[in-house]
Every structure is written in C-alpha cells, then in structure tokens.
Assembly symmetry: C2
Homo-oligomer: 84 residues x 2
C-alpha cells in the first residue's frame, strides 16, 4: 500500500512539473508574439520617420536654392543711397 | 518481463518528450533574448532618427526666417532700370 501511495505522489509531482513547464512554454510563446508585434511596430515607425526625414532634406535643399537665388537678386540691385 | 520492457519503453518515451520540450523552452528563451535585442536596437535608431528630424525642423525654421529677411531686403531696394 505504501509503495502504491508513493507511486501516486510521484505521479502527481510529475504531473505538476509538466504543467509548470507547459505554462512556461505558453508564457514564452505569448512573449515572443508580443515582442514580434512591437518589433514590427518599431519597423513601421522607423520607416515612416526616415521617410519624413528624407522629405525634410529635400525641402531644405529647395530652401537653400531659394536663398542662393535671393542673394543673387540682391547683388544685382544697387543699394539705394541718400543722393539718388 | 514483458511488463518490465513496456515500462522501460514508456520511460524512454517520456524522457524523449521531456527533452523535446526542454529544447523548445531553450529555443524560445533564445528567441526572446534575440527579439529584445532587436527591440532595443530599434528603440535607439528611432530615437536617433527623431532627434535628427527635430534638428532639421529647427534648421528649416531658420532658413524660412532667412528667406523672409532676404525678401524684405529685396523690397527695400528699387529695381535698377535702364534709364538710371
């Protein structure tokens, strides 16, 4: 009888360990899913921010060209003087 | 004897299943580590790109101010004419 009880206890412990490990597996799988979600969100945000950066760099180039053109126009016009 | 052999086979199978599950646990933990690495890399890259974007926006504001100033200067100077 004692031997049978021991076997039962042993079986219950093993069952418990198996459940703990399976629970750990489930949690890890959920964590992987969550991290992969976050990763793809970051990918999207980084891509969008880089596109915005690229647009702004283009805009900056056109502003620089406009400034050059305005400087050229200014140089072509004489300063108005008191004596004119 | 047959009963003992069956128990042995059963034990070997259970051992094999446990190894498969522990291997799966190891792989999932490695995957979590790898994903967390990637996530923090994305965080850093996104932060750096946003800082760059913010700098460019400041620069753009100063270019717009420069363009406004140049327009004002141009308006203050008369067009040079052929007859002057």
């Amino acid at each position: 009888l004692v031997d049978m009880e021991e076997k039962q206890i042993h079986g219950v412990e093993r069952q418990h360990k198996a459940e703990v490990i399976l629970q750990e597996l489930r949690l890890l799988k959920e964590k992987v899913d969550h991290l992969e979600d976050q990763k793809s969100q970051y990918e999207r945000r980084l891509k969008a921010t880089k596109a915005e950066l690229s647009d702004l760099q283009q805009l900056l180039l056109s502003k620089n060209a406009e400034i050059d053109s305005l400087h050229t126009q200014l140089l072509a016009r004489p300063l108005s003087t008191e004596t004119s």
